[in-house]
Symmetry: D2
């Protein structure tokens, strides 16, 4: 069983899953030059060095310091550098100052090895004592946290490479963005009524997927597949980016102030569209789902098509009928707490609740989501103008 | 029957209601010096001259130009100056360039008289022909639009006066902000189930109150009165503004970057709190409902108190049990379309739908809301950091 | 003898000159509506109300408070509001917050009358006591200070009116900008050698005109008249604004970031040039001296013409041969202290010295300079990107 | 004869001098990790990779492309990336986008070797044909250009390392900033009269040092050594940074908006001063010349001391009596063209002239200036707020 398979396997031991996820991160690093670990082109995008150090810090800070009394901290200063936002834990470096030359990449790899060894030792002892539930729970959270950063590793790196004048490829010939849209173009009809929404059962979920609760939905229809590049090109040809009545007021201001007239990474030369992919610049595949669109663009497209975006509740209610997972699909739901939502105690309580304002929910998963890191109740969220994730559009009415 | 009474009366004729609302606006102007009509201290706040010209423009643009063939436009250039945001209608002046010396205040008053005369003539003919439904509907919309700007007139002017070094009073001795909070401190329990939400019946409502639809609610409790100044002072004393775990991440960034440690207009000298009111600086009344708080502050207060803000659906479901109307009450609902929401056709279709992103819903009404301009289904909305309206906090759990 | 004549007359008494200058300011206000006194379109431009209050404050602060023991200050709060930059004197209002509704214009006029009466009383006593030299010196400084603000009153108001959508005229039919350039197009040759530069003799001068000192100049030639609009149009037609080699690096960044392709207030419709004048929009007069150009534009024009700007020393050495006074002429000299420059003691010591960095010297005078407020040694100065003064270009080689 | 010696030797052949300077640059790189070549903490500071590629580009662009018909350009895209500001030559990358991962550091080194080989071949042929003067002149310019970037390499890297949370040392134990100030504290008196200023003779100079011309100077005195750290500490203790009357208006705004109260890199912990040096954090040596001060600070210090900064003409006239070379010494002269200054033809004409606005002249040299790259007529220049060079203060009166 390869690491990549274990990463998504639920029957592996916790230690096996930990090691599989950790080595999957290292596999992501394989094509990089040392220099690629450093730049931070915009505040939202972290350098690879930061992503792989920060996920390591999570295990050191929340697990090793607590569960291994004799644990020797790798470098005290890392706690400050690689704390992303946990105010409870202590000071943290400014989010826009993550482009650092020191510690070197080699030191970060040594840091990973140091923490992996200590974690392996700790997880190998499972089965014989106290605190196992907390340890297992935090380790599982750390694993899921690292999987989130695996996806960010790719989307951040893609943005960074697209900002480089040489536009280097992450892996030559690797264009997962060009895979055709799955599912039928037909809309699926779902009857109205009360639906149970939110996570249930034994498996891991984030705090924001709870509590499971009832939502009343009117009957609705939802498209069997995501909007494709060729469909989105019709919107562009029809003047979609120049027709204010299709746009939210904030969206209209955004496309005008940022001079936006196509999805992120698209480029038009002499009438031919191409786009930047993980394999570098490539032709735009008409049948692939459109990606790297903001909520504003998703919403304007829906308005233009005479339909609308689904709510996150409609999406979840219909999910078993959908062939999802190619794109994070913008919904028309704001990211807000479910009734009965409770922040976990302690520092990990900062995980999700404090972001529940000004963001919109995306459902599904994307080509960059690690195996095993998705489920129908998963709530992703971003500000409505952001486009560097592998976002997409599914229509409803 | 005085104008102020007619403004809220539903049995008056349309012409009577039109004239009552128009003269209520003029009554608001009575205490002003010519100079007060000009400054625009920040982009969100319009000068009085703009507010009173813009509402006049609405009647000229959408009604007189259409229904009165021989109508003589007062000044062609006003359409550009006093169009707030109707992109459909034509070019418009930038929102941050409303501080103009010309046209003079006297010319704006002449503009109002010109339009009032034409509208009076037009509305006097009602009963004899075509297009009456459209005319009545648009006039009613114009009346409600002007009432919204009456409230903005006061909140904008309050902000403007507070920005003046001399801090002038709007009306000496006029401190409606100091009226004690109404209602009982006890929480009212509401059983769960399906509720009908949204406007019903014959009367006027805005497009965003439609369509009436079903929402499932869990059982909840809601406070009988709004949070008072003395309660909010406890939050401050307890370090509420310095405790990051109470705040949304965006809210924490906001209070730190803006150096915020109290509601807008509050001032502390030698331990004594006072606040700027419509009557100038005054003592802070402990039993009055706290006001001029942002959503972030409302939410942090709720977190500190161990409770939460109600959703707009809970608020509406409970509204018949509440003594509301002193403050616009922040809810924990994002401003989004109801299922079945439809934009009206034409330029008035821009009224509400294009703002349905990045804003939070407020329910109720405030001390500055004109009589007759409130109902339990009314959905007000502002960005979560804004504080210059007469906002307040009601708790739920 | 009219006030306007006395303003420039040197044989009048100090009291006569004081009153003449004060009433000349009032004459400038004559065409204004109350509303015109308020807007401040950009930070560099002060509202008329501020200009006329600030000059009044100067007399109250530096003279009446000191020389009239029983003087009753008009309003204590004005010292804060109308102090422009005298840090020594106390707190001052932020320079970008001068758009105030209160005190009203009428109160400012009352303030002027109050101060004028007290000054008249004080100056009427001259001849019988102590401190006369200081009093006369400070009054003369205050008179010259007010004359500077008379020019600013006009250039600020012109900018403000140009920013208004209605582009009102200050005085209908008043286009002093269109007067033809005086002097001969020929260049005047000046032999090299040592020249005495700086003020000499008994009359008033600013501290920055001292000390008179020797400067060695190489032989040079200087144009008999300023560059005209038609000459400047050739520069534009020849692509002057698009040819980077003509520009300073900072100038090139400035025209590109600000999208500048003509002097301030110029406008081109269907190939016809017009410009905004004190009388409103008007045709561009080809033979008038170009005006409202920055140092960057003046310098690029000179480079394009194969010549250069004179230094301030060359200008002064040649001044007796020049018919100057239509435009403030940019020189290629930075505004720096003369050898032997001394700051005056006390608050008035802030007058000029603290601005001696980052600014370029302009020599001459302009159409807006009051009679009697110019001399060959006068050193005006502005940052190199500023254009709202009546600036112009004279060439040398 | 080592490379470091040849770098400053005037009797070496052009090829020897070229190779010596090129290898001196490589020697500067010796202590760096790959990661150190990438970050650009602020727009004024270039990454090491950029500095060493840009100087290489100069030889390729201006010499190899022209004088070697068969020259094979290393990578066409580098011309765009490593052109600093030569608009004449073609497009160039934005100055604030120099933090790039690709090309890699190893590729830049290969680029240097490629160009060095071609230049060696070319310079080896000298003595037998056409164009020698141009070639020799441009190569000499390229050598001097690279020496300027050697100094920038160190000052840029120092700034970058100081921005890193770990504050790494460039070379451990290397603190040239701590060398004691040379020269006597006494002032040297220089009699007035006409002086010849500017470069003369055969050796290399930059265009801005010409033409040699006459300047009349009043008698003056100039200090025999630069202001020391202990002297500057007295200014701080005496409230120098809080006394507005010592500062230019722009300087006062600068220290307040940037919250500046000590030279760059200084840090005070429990009353003990230390500073960041090329060898990392170190104690502040009282007898070393103060460094990393802006013009504003230099000028305020001079004002506080009752003296003034010398002009660049005074400095040059006195230079033979001064033991200069430890710091770039701020003068009170703006960077402006000498009478008779002519821009060279072609792209190298952009070298100096276009920066002759908004900057102040510094004279001397610093601890980071390569041997042989200084002379009494050398005119360095920076904007008055910049501090990351090894600047210093010498007083005059």
């Amino acid at each position: 069983m390869t690491a990549a398979v274990i990463q998504g396997a639920s029957h592996a031991t916790l230690k096996e899953r930990f090691l599989a996820v950790r080595s999957a991160t290292m596999a992501l690093c394989e094509p990089l030059e040392t220099e690629d670990y450093i730049p931070q082109p915009v505040v939202d995008v972290s350098p690879p060095k930061w992503n792989i150090a920060h996920t390591t810090w999570f295990f050191e800070e929340f697990i090793l310091r607590r569960f291994v009394p004799a644990y020797s901290v790798f470098d005290d200063r890392f706690a400050y550098l690689f704390n992303s936002y946990y105010n409870t834990v202590g000071d943290r470096s400014a989010r826009d100052r993550r482009s650092l030359s020191r510690p070197t990449v080699e030191e970060i790899f040594a840091y990973r090895r140091h923490v992996d060894e200590a974690m392996s030792g700790l997880l190998g002892t499972l089965g014989d004592g106290t605190d196992h539930d907390d340890l297992a729970e935090l380790t599982t959270l750390g694993i899921n946290h690292e999987q989130q950063h695996q996806e960010l590793f790719l989307s951040d790196l893609k943005f960074s490479f697209a900002s480089e004048p040489f536009k280097p490829a992450y892996r030559s010939g690797f264009h997962p963005e060009n895979e055709s849209a799955r599912g039928s173009v037909d809309r699926i009809a779902i009857g109205g009524g009360n639906f149970e929404i939110g996570h249930r059962g034994e498996g891991f979920c984030f705090d924001n997927e709870l509590a499971r609760h009832t939502v009343f939905l009117e009957p609705f229809e939802i498209s069997g597949r995501c909007v494709t590049n060729s469909e989105f090109l019709e919107f562009i040809s029809d003047g979609g980016y120049r027709t204010h009545s299709l746009w939210h007021s904030d969206g209209w201001d955004w496309i005008r102030s940022q001079d936006i007239s196509a999805p992120l990474y698209w480029s038009n030369e002499d009438g031919e569209w191409s786009h930047f992919t993980l394999g570098g610049m490539d032709r735009l595949e008409p049948d692939a789902p459109v990606t790297h669109v903001s909520y504003y663009e998703a919403s304007a497209y829906a308005e233009w098509s005479g339909l609308r975006l689904p709510t996150e509740f409609e999406w979840e209610a219909a999910s078993s009928s959908l062939d999802w997972g190619q794109r994070w699909e913008w919904t028309n739901s704001a990211y807000l707490p479910y009734p009965g939502f409770r922040k976990p105690a302690g520092a990990v309580g900062e995980y999700n609740g404090k972001f529940m304002i000004n963001q919109m929910v995306l459902r599904g998963a994307s080509l960059a989501t690690p195996a095993g890191h998705s489920r129908p109740t998963y709530r992703n969220f971003f500000h409505p103008h952001l486009r560097w994730q592998f976002t997409g559009i599914r229509l409803a009415r």
